[in-house]
Amino acid sequence: MQWEVVIGLETHVQLQTRTKIFSGASTAFGAAPNTQADAVSIALPGVLPVLNKEAVRCAIRFGLAIDAEIGRRSVFARKNYFYPDLPKGYQISQYELPVVGRGHLNILVGDAEKTVRITRAHLEEDAGKSVHEDFHGMSGIDLNRAGTPLLEIVTEPDMRSAAEAVAYARKLHELVQWIGICDGNMQEGSFRCDVNVSVRPVGSDKLGTRREIKNLNSFRFMQQAIEYETRWQIETLEDGGKIQQATVLFDPDTGETRAMRSKEEANDYRYFPDPDLLPLVISEADIEAVKAALPELPEAMQARFQSQYGLPAYDAGILTGSRGMADYFVAAVAAFGGEAKLVANWVMGSVAAKLNEAGLDVAASPVSPAQLAALLKRIADNTISGKMAKEVFEAMWAGEGEADAIIEKRGLKQVSDAGAIEKIVDEVLAANAAMVAEYKAGKEKAFNGLVGQCMKASKGQANPAQVNEILKKKLA
């Protein structure tokens, strides 16, 4: 039987606010345990939540970025369950009426474009952390993270492969950073994905029973986990088994998923509207204010790059893959002033390759957009060849200084003096009579050999176009 996998994602995005969602305690990562746990974070008797308006603005930002309906009236509810790192015994979340309604995100998988529908996004508070090491059989509780604002983003089951799920997650990861609501740090848990996976026979329109892979904090693990889980479900069904709805964890060491708890044992969370918080009412003016401060979104920028700079769709897509990359490109184009395609080639080529190799963010690039532009100007005005430019770029990356200084120091200036080149050509023709004879006998290849000899004789500095031209004239 042919099987189809059906995937939906729930992503917890930690919002980049200075303080917690319902109190003034700091959200900074990495502080000593419980130093950011104020009276509200530890749920002292009598304390009350007060909603952080910045968290709401972040949610609206996201809603606008995915072209979603913004809930004009959303309600905070209590999700009741006991756990030591959940200080109130309930989590404040949004249940029936979320702040962000239906929206969508377009992804690119290979060459195929696809729209993933987003069901909803809602605001909620994070829990604290239980620490089980170093306490001699006891557990420690760190409530620094308790109350950190999260936006939980839920998709429809629209993805049909691990690659699509990862493409969606990457796109979302980029978007939330692009609009400045999340730092995207997956190691620190700022972006956590839960993936719902089910399989069904191809052609069936009924969804299979799903299992939820919890807390994936890297795209690589996500890919592996979905692939494993898909195989496991198909094998289980083909062996005559049944899938039980369950929550599973991915073990990166074994590459396997295993059930954490089955959903039948799941808590009844007894959701009800939190009487400590009034319904969140968002006005047209609130939305307009957020809209006015919203940066140009990736897709709009991609279209603009095509029309404004005459770039191919592919280039425009790559360059708008991250806010930092786009900013770098725009700055380099502005400083360069010439052909944008040349800048695009270099940013997508050498710059991206070196960043990738060094594991650096584009913002931390040792070669700034202005420095890159200065180098490209030397290509444009024929001071150096493209090949020479690569060498100069390497030197710039290594911190040897500005392009002009390196060209000067290394004597890489291209020779475009017709007289000088003619002299070299004459010498090469005199020294390579055999090649000249071959060329004249009709062997085109010999011409390239002669060009190569000329370049070698000039130590690569002769302008190749001029060498070609003069050589042709002399051999005619």
Binding site: A39, I42, A43, L44, P45, G46, V47, L48, P49, V50, L51, R78, N80, F82, P84, P87, K88, G89, Y90, I141, D268, R270, Y271, F272, P275, D276, L277, L278
Partner: protein, 484 residues
């Protein structure tokens, strides 16, 4: 001095007839003498109180005294007061010292008032007789074998026994008005949102409201001037201009339209209480008020609705008492679940457990719509009843409680009988309206309260309605015997 009004006390302090330290010591001495029996206070800390009194005396000497500067006020033990043990009447918080001040406590501190101590109360404010307190029952000063009412029973007994000039209370379903009625006091539950709930330990968040308990309506007005006001730390606190609650005290009653709900004078009301309330209403007629019969047709549903909504909220509000971070933790336990179960089983009393169970049940999947959601719908109908009624009258009057103070132990085995104590008060909380009880007379030697219910934000007018009555009656200045 022990029967003086707050205004008289302020005058005595300003006129140097007495210092705040002396006044505070006077009440501390009385507490030392009477509290071992009456048990109105859970925690008294003379040193802390006297330190505040000394600071108040300095303010008075510097001519910086406000209306309550130097006056000792008892705080219901539901309000967190920095450095004070704050128990909420529960073993669960028997070892809890609050590290911060409730808004109400801060307001009294800022006014220069002296915190005289923390008063006894039903555990987590759940009860109508103060008998659910972990710290023992409280005697009604009018008859020591009887209950003071609840949940603010300690505050009521403290003021009635003149162990405090005034006290704070909280009212979720009648917890200020019913004990005020049973102890012969004036007590006001303001419009929901007028007093900040910050630092007030939550029972049922959508119903809880702080208010003053004192001898007279005038005293209540002075207390309200300190207690009321917007607080950004409580999202349900109302952003309104500061008002003077004493502004309408002398407004004449001529033309006042008093609504008398048919349902408040029907079955369930004690005959003696009915007589006293009718006499009080006659007194109002003499003062120029008119009466009009009104109906609150959904009043009978108020108790069942309340006993769905309040436990639902309570079951969630009380989840934080898990023994993990503060409060009672069982000394021996196996795993985590065992720690939760034992700590909560030991830390909570029977009534609290009963309400947690009811609340958990009504919020459960499959029952939510039938109970919680339905109750919310009826809650709106109850509020609409009042809306209709206030088209025809300015205030509503009736009994505050169906009877006078009952004997300790009389209703402890019958929760429903106990719940019926709030028959006339609960609808007011469900609607978020202000309600007040003032002493209206006696039945068989026990005080009877007259309840006055006003429209939203009409506290100042209601206090005036109470004050005018107290200008021609002396029920509010009568003292129980045996406390001299």
């Amino acid at each position: 001095m022990i029967n003086a009004s707050l205004k008289e006390l302020a005058g005595a302090l300003a006129g140097k007839q007495i210092s705040s330290v002396e006044l505070t010591q006077l009440f501390l001495d009385r507490i030392a003498r009477f509290n071992p029996e009456i048990n109105a206070y859970i925690t008294v800390d003379a040193e802390k109180s006297l330190a505040q009194a000394r600071a108040a005396d300095a303010l008075i000497a510097a001519g910086k005294a406000g209306a309550l500067t130097g006056i000792p006020i008892a705080q219901k033990d539901i309000f967190c007061a920095k450095g004070w043990r704050t128990t909420c009447g529960s073993k669960m918080l028997g070892n809890f010292t609050a590290p911060y001040n409730a808004h109400i406590v801060s307001q009294f501190d800022a006014a220069g008032a002296v915190n005289l101590g923390k008063t006894n109360m039903d555990e987590f404010a759940m009860g109508s007789s103060n008998e659910t307190s972990y710290f023992g029952k409280v005697q009604n000063p009018w008859d020591r074998a009887r209950v003071p009412g609840g949940s603010s029973g300690g505050s009521a007994a403290a003021v009635a026994a003149r162990l405090a000039p005034a006290a704070t209370g909280t009212d979720t379903g009648g917890s200020i008005r019913q004990p005020a009625s049973l102890c012969g006091l004036s007590g006001l539950k303001p419009t929901y949102g007028v007093c900040s709930r910050y630092g007030m330990i939550a029972f049922a968040s959508s119903l809880d409201q702080a208010g003053p308990m004192a001898k007279s309506a005038e005293d209540l007005a002075l207390m309200m001037n300190v207690m009321a006001g917007f607080d950004e730390r409580d999202s349900t606190s109302l952003q309104r201009d500061k008002e003077d609650y004493a502004r309408d005290l002398n407004q004449p009653l001529k033309g006042l339209r008093i609504g008398l709900p048919r349902e408040y004078f029907a079955e369930g009301l004690d005959a003696g209480v009915a007589r006293v309330v009718q006499e009080a209403i006659d007194q109002y007629r003499k003062l120029g008020a008119e009466t009009v019969e009104i109906s609150l047709p959904n009043n009978a549903l108020a108790i069942p609705v309340y006993y769905v909504l309040a436990p639902a909220e309570a079951s969630s509000n009380l989840s934080r008492y898990d023994g993990v971070r503060y409060g009672h933790r069982a000394s021996e336990y196996g795993d985590l679940l065992d720690m939760y179960c034992k700590s909560r089983a030991e830390g909570f009393g029977a009534e609290v457990k009963r309400r947690i169970m009811i609340g958990t049940y009504v919020l459960s999947a499959g029952y939510y719509d039938a109970y919680y959601l339905k109750a919310q719908q009826i809650r709106r109908l109850i509020a609409q009843d009042f809306e209709q009624a206030f088209r025809r009258c300015d205030v509503i009057m009736g009994p505050a409680a169906p009877g006078t103070a009952f004997k300790a132990g009389e209703k402890t085995d019958d929760p429903v009988a106990m719940y019926l104590e709030d028959l006339y008060t609960i609808a007011v909380n469900l609607a978020g309206l202000p309600g007040m009880s003032i002493p209206a007379g006696f039945s068989n030697g026990l005080p009877v309260g007259l309840q006055i219910i006003g429209n939203y934000f009409s506290e100042a007018r209601m206090l005036g309605v109470g004050h005018q009555f107290q200008q021609v009656t002396d029920w509010h200045v009568q003292m129980p015997k045996g406390i001299e």
